[in-house]
Amino acid sequence: MAGIKDLGVGIGWRSEIDLTVERLPGVDFVEVVAENLHIGHLPESVTLLLERGVPVLPHAVSLSLGGADEVDLHRVEHLGAVAEAVGAPMVSDHVCFVRAGGLDSGHLMPVPRTKDALDVLVANVKLAQRNLPVPLALENVAALLEWPDGELSEGQFLAELVERTDCWLLVDVANLYANARNIGTDPERFLDEIPLERLAYVHVAGGEQHGDIYHDTHAHAVLPEVLDVLDELCSRVAPPGVLLERDDNYPSDTEIASELAAIRAVVDKHRG
């Protein structure tokens, strides 16, 4: 896939930290939430980053590709239009559903890992791909529960999804860590099972433990344990890019810079 190789280290662009993102040293690429952008009215900051040659990748949160409802092609078209507006080499969303029966959950809900659910997901992904101008990457989500009667592990589920749709994978190592903490999944097994040659890039994010539950908040510091999962991934494959997601409770520029530096250190360690 042209243009996606060697993205480097990036950060999720958010309007609250636009000047920070522009000023931070070592931001090689950014991700924008596609639903927050309006075609024809790109934020000045995003335009400035594009002029500097910083790749801008649209990330969607509302396609609900894992849902039984028909894919809303207006949302797909908007994602594609954002990709064209920013000249992105790819777009992404999640392996999840956010709507069911006309109701919006407001959360990225995990998909039951059954053959039937996979068939639905595959059909939706193929429909989306046909209506997108660039390749689609799909991200593993954090789950607080597992649907009963799962027939596949998460890694097997994603591997089969890639096999049948030729999509790319966006691996969120913070979500892998959250799932390990909350539902006992094994990040190493996940990494063993997915086709790493289809890795588009990686997400890293912070979270917080509340009682027995680890919350993938994107509003707290990145835990060393999450960087350990990144380290494990990097020991297997050189990821084309690694992106820090921060959505709230933004720390100082210095703290953000040091999180990016910590991510880069893990990546560089394996590039030797």
Binding site: E16, I17, D18, L19, T254
Partner: protein, 250 residues
């Protein structure tokens, strides 16, 4: 907070220098500048100011703590200046400047100045009757000039302010305001904000360094004198009535 001193030992923080230079709004601007400078406040391109820490961490003065509390949720650049300008902590800052005799309450001295002018006018008319009244007119006029010429800044305040240098961008804001000019450049450029962000702060007429609205030449002799009513009246400062008259950029 970095302080600068005069030869007589009157220490001025940037917020104090801002207050002496142009009133409570400028003090608020100086506080905003320092908190941004220290990475304790973040400004976005659309002019939203937000606190980096939710617990007020990093504040070194009560005004700074107040401004950080205002910015727990994102707030517009001009709104946070206005809110801080009107807060009780800035009123307290003013009282401290009074107690240190860097400022005085000007109203008392201004009381009756129009009476002096009226007396002078009547005396001039009576001067046609007897030249003695012309002497009285001169005295009354002199008294009027004296009353008008004294602003709320004391001699000690002026001396302290004269020692404050625009040695960093925080003090540049204190002395010239975010929307001012310094060494041929817009002060806002020192912070790399889009120009429209600092333009949201209401602008006061440019005035020369040291000829602040508080000193005799700037305030007492011009129509902008009404704004000195803030610093001159502690009851209006901090009472939410809008210290500084025209806006936050004073």
């Amino acid at each position: 907070m970095t302080k600068q001193t005069d030869t007589q030992g009157a220490w001025l923080s940037a917020e104090e220098a801002g207050f002496l230079t142009a009133g409570p709004g400028r003090a608020a601007e100086a506080v905003l500048a320092r908190l941004i400078d220290q990475g304790l406040l973040r400004v976005s391109r659309d002019g939203l100011v937000s606190a980096v820490h939710q617990d007020g961490e990093g504040a070194t003065t009560s005004v700074e703590a107040r401004m950080l509390s205002f910015a727990r949720n994102p707030v517009q650049f001009d709104a946070i200046v206005l809110a801080t300008r009107n807060c009780t902590e800035v009123a307290q800052l003013y009282r401290q400047l009074l107690s240190r005799e860097l400022m005085r309450v000007p109203h008392r001295r201004h009381d009756g100045r129009w009476f002096s002018l009226a007396v002078a006018g009547v005396a001039v008319v009576l001067g046609f009757v007897s030249p003695v009244f012309l002497v009285a007119a001169a005295i009354a006029l002199g008294f009027f000039v004296w009353q008008n010429g004294s602003g709320p800044i004391t001699q000690a305040g002026r001396e302290a302010l004269s020692q404050v240098q625009a040695s960093d961008r925080v003090h540049v804001v204190a002395l010239y305001g975010f929307d001012g000019r310094f060494r041929g450049k817009d002060v806002g450029e020192l912070f790399d904000f889009p120009r429209r962000v600092v333009r949201t702060v209401p602008r006061r007429p440019a005035r020369a360094r040291r000829r602040s609205i508080w000193n005799g030449g700037g305030c007492g002799s011009s129509s902008s004198c009404g704004s000195s009513g803030c610093a001159g009246s502690s009851s209006s400062c901090g009472g939410g009535s809008g210290c500084g008259g025209g806006g936050g950029g004073d």
